[in-house]
Amino acid sequence: MSQSVIKVENLGKLYRLGEIGTGTISHDLNRWWARVRGKEDPFAKIGQVNDRATKGSSDYVWALKDVNFEVKQGEVLGIIGRNGAGKSTLLKLLSKVTAPTTGSIKIKGRIASLLEVGTGFHPELTGRENIYLNGAILGMTRSEIRSKFDEIVDFAGVERYIDTPVKRYSSGMYVRLAFAVAAFLESEIFIVDEVLAVGDADFQKKCLGRMKEVSTNAGRTVLFVSHDLNAVAQLCKRLLLFSTGLKDFEGDVETGIRKYLSTYKSSSHFIRKNAPRNKTYIKEVWICDANGDAVTAFFHDQEVHVVFNIEIEQGLLLKPDVFVIVLDARKRRIFACELNALHPQVKLVIMPRQLVRGEYSLITLINIPNKQTVDELVDICQFEIVDNGSQMSKHGGYDYGMVLGKYRWDV
């Protein structure tokens, strides 16, 4: 078993909400007085668990509380959680940008944190000068940077612009250069936060590849924070799930993402507010998984259930159809499902292993084919498909189409 390189014990971070200004001095004095008497911080006691949506009674919240975990050498650890769950706070503590309120972090080796790429880039300086400056900020010495310089420029693919001030760079080139500097850091531990959200698909793929490479070949440790579950699923073996400042889950990626998705309930529940003139209309549509739990993100090998509540006018002569079209993120129509009947409640099951990863929504309509559209709802019920290992998942950022085709090779 390889040894741990990071050990986090009882880590906590208390933040003060609201404006800092008036009252600062009195709080400071209070704290100081408590410390002089050897008591604990009077404001730490009243800190509450961090839930951004509910109104709290205290001005102090624990952005992170009682967090314990270890990271082994060469491991790629994913960290996920909703906004405000404490991910970024954890990264800030790990990268020493701010100090913890309680607990400790023990580290073996140098940490390079990419909370943001291009930190310290100066727009007036050339690409070359910025590589040296940024490298130095990230903790490299001049000679280290010099020995990596060609690789960095090559990885970024900005050779032609290297002696041009970076203010003339396109934003993509800027990011490429910035990530490249970081990617060639000589550190044992990498902390990466959402940097892949920028750059084109090709470059994202390159970055993921590079991160995989440093962990497997060079035996370095990577902590990867992202909302991109596809990238997390692809890159990481182990996962930490945070919610409201507490560590919710630690374990394998598959279970972690499932748990995360199941807690992720958003408004993909459509309810008709005012009835239209037609007596036949869709009252309610929602999305759930096979167990009936309302979730909005699914693995590609999971069934997506869409439930309809329909108001039906009595004594209709022509029976209309129910018609559902699946839209992708760009609102292209992927395929349609139709039901040649009408019932007060129907459930559509979209079979697994069809949709590629991405965001989807629905057009739902009730119509009499080629005659009349009775009711139509466009772009409702957003949901997401996460690829947890289809045969295409290894093609990362490459656009491999809109569906997972059913095919066979004869060789």
Binding site: R16, T98, I105, K108, H122
Partner: protein, 296 residues
């Protein structure tokens, strides 16, 4: 590796285990842990920052670093006109241009360094909030990059000085010139120390920002920059001598021009204040840097 240590009693395992960690992050560090070694490891960064300050300022300008000369020349011209001609302030019988230039050159360095270091947390909060490096590198790099500027302006002073020395007999330099590096060091330390204290306090109490700009202005009038120390009424002299910059400016003028006063006691006092300020500043700065991102 672990198989051997397991057999040992727990008490002996513990210190072994602790040694393996290269770094331990805890809520509070010891007060006097100045981490200067870390600063030394990042010396390349200090040089890069100095270079950045210098290069970035003068990109896309025609005159480039020559701008460093324009400012003192214009200031001295104004001083000669306003304080020399209009107000008729004494310059101790020294050539006005040289008298003011000496004061302005020194004061500019002090004021500029103090001004920049005092806002270091505010100016750099975007970087500080994203990546860790010893925060001390920033103020130290400011002190050094201003040194470059001082060197150029000092060169200008030397040109004028040499001309007066050659063509007139109004100035009488002496061996105290050798103290120049000490004087500059003194100023640098003082500005650095004060700047660090102020910048540490401004992270919580923004009020000091307002105080800073005119505070520096006021301090200039409490330093013999535009008037000689000798022109002050004797019962106020002690007040002026409390200001550690007084000894610096006076010694400099004494060394190069031969006017003014030189007192070893005053210089020692000034040096002691500077060193004390730097120590205090470093302690305060290091204390604040750990958590300033939460408040700034």
């Amino acid at each position: 590796m672990n198989t051997k240590t397991i057999a040992l009693p727990a008490a002996e395992v513990e210190p072994l285990h602790q040694e393996a960690w290269t770094e331990v992050i805890v809520p509070r560090s010891r007060l006097l842990d100045l981490r200067l070694g870390e600063l030394w490891r990042y010396r390349d960064l200090v040089l890069m920052l100095v270079r950045r300050d210098f290069v970035a300022n003068y990109k896309q300008t025609i005159l480039g670093p020559l701008w460093f000369l324009v400012q003192p020349i214009l200031t001295v011209l104004t001083f000669v006109l306003i304080f020399g001609r209009v107000a008729g302030l004494s310059t101790d019988g020294m050539p006005k241009v040289l008298f003011y230039l000496a004061g302005v050159t020194l004061w500019n360095y002090f004021a500029e360094t103090l001004n920049k270091t005092a806002t270091v947390f505010r100016d750099n909060s975007p970087i500080f909030g994203k990546v860790y490096f010893p925060r001390l590198t920033m103020p130290v790099s400011i002190v050094i990059s201003n040194l470059v500027r001082l060197a150029i302006q000092y060169g200008l002073f030397l040109v004028f000085w040499a001309w007066y020395l050659w063509c007139t007999s109004s100035i009488h330099p002496n061996a105290c010139i050798l103290l120049t590096p000490l004087l500059i060091l003194n100023m640098g330390l003082l500005a650095l120390g004060l700047g660090m204290i102020i910048s540490a306090l401004t992270t919580r109490y923004r009020d000091l920002v307002f105080l800073l700009t005119f505070g520096i202005q006021l301090l200039m009038y409490a330093t013999p920059v535009i008037y000689p120390f000798s022109s002050i009424a004797s019962h106020y002299k002690w007040l002026l001598q409390l200001n550690p910059m007084t000894a610096v400016v006076e010694t400099f003028r004494y060394a190069y021009l031969g006017s003014g006063t030189f007192s070893l006691a005053a210089l020692t006092y000034s040096m002691a204040i500077s060193i004390g300020t730097v120590l205090l500043g470093t302690i305060v700065f290091n204390k604040v840097e750990k958590s300033f991102t939460d408040t700034v």
